[in-house]
């Protein structure tokens, strides 16, 4: 059963984490930290999915979290491979310098 804490409190934690992630993406210049901020946002959304799953007494929210986890893993693998290959060609991974699509 749902544990009785008002659902908006959990959603507020989720909103705060999401905002921290957004600010991280906007402020940081290191693509690795930007990726970590994206993970933070994904986790914020997962937290609200689980909250709704528990509150609405339905397993569907947990399914979505499971699929989001898989997508996050795939995204990190491809994203880190891209960062490494950019670093190999340019020796520098500041996002301000990445203004061309050509290798």
């Amino acid at each position: 059963m749902y544990n009785g804490i008002p659902i908006s409190w959990y959603l507020l934690i989720s909103a705060i984490l999401f905002t921290i992630g957004v600010i991280g993406v906007l402020v940081r210049r290191n693509p690795l930290t930007i990726f970590m901020s994206i993970e933070l946002m994904l986790n914020a959304v997962n937290l609200s999915f689980i909250t709704f799953s528990s509150y609405l007494n339905s397993v569907d929210g947990q399914m979505f979290v499971f699929l989001v986890l898989t997508v996050a893993a795939a995204e990190v693998v491809v994203g880190l491979a891209i960062i490494v290959s950019i670093f190999r060609t340019r020796r520098n991974i500041n996002v301000d310098d990445m203004n061309i699509l050509r290798g």
């Binding site: 659902i7 906007l26 402020v27 930290t33 933070l40 996050a72």
Partner: protein, 187 residues
């Protein structure tokens, strides 16, 4: 239904810890410290999942997220840091971005919390009742079996699509990560 006092204390301790470690991710200068802070955040979120009764997802979160994904992150961070001069450089050429980002962030959190505390749709949503509800199934079958039944009955098609996604990501990582050698052995 009101929450018991231990649950409330648990919630507030977890809330403060989660937000603090989440802030650590974007405040620390070094990417390694950010990654460690993110691991902490993920573990705290897993504890939230436990509190909400999602045992299987909490374990998966610790194993896959805090385990596998973050190990990959730390791998890349240390690899780039060792090839680079010291740590990954972070030179801020557009300092005015900070103010704009903070303003936009405050607008976002303000709008979200306004919606949370004035919206009516959330509190009036009806729980799934009767024999098909989550808590009834968990009491009957256990947490993991409930999850597995739902995954392979109602969500089998997304599950299959997931396997395709993973294969594509795997191939993509191999293509991006390979070094092409030219005739004289340079890469």
């Amino acid at each position: 239904m009101t929450a018991s006092v231990p649950t409330l204390i648990e919630f507030f301790v977890l809330a403060v810890a989660t937000v603090a470690s989440g802030l650590g991710v974007i405040i620390f200068r070094s990417a390694v410290h950010s990654a460690l802070s993110l691991i902490l955040t993920l573990l705290f979120v897993a504890l939230f999942y436990l509190q909400l009764g999602a045992m299987f997802i909490a374990v998966v979160q610790v194993l896959i997220y805090a385990g596998a994904i973050m190990v990959l992150f730390l791998f890349v961070v240390t690899m780039l840091a060792s090839e680079n001069t010291g740590d990954v450089t972070e030179v801020d050429r557009r300092p005015w971005q900070r103010g704009i980002a903070a303003t936009l962030g405050f607008i976002l959190i303000g709008a979200l919390s306004y919606l949370l505390f004035t919206g009516t749709a959330i509190e009036s949503a009806a729980p799934t009742s009767g024999a098909n509800g989550l808590s009834q199934n968990v009491a009957k079958l256990g947490n993991t079996q409930t999850f597995g039944m739902a995954l392979f009955h109602g969500f089998s098609f997304p599950f299959e699509i997931t396997s395709l996604l993973i294969i594509v990501a795997l191939l993509g990582a191999m293509v991006l990560g390979r070094r092409t050698l030219t005739r004289d052995g340079q890469h």
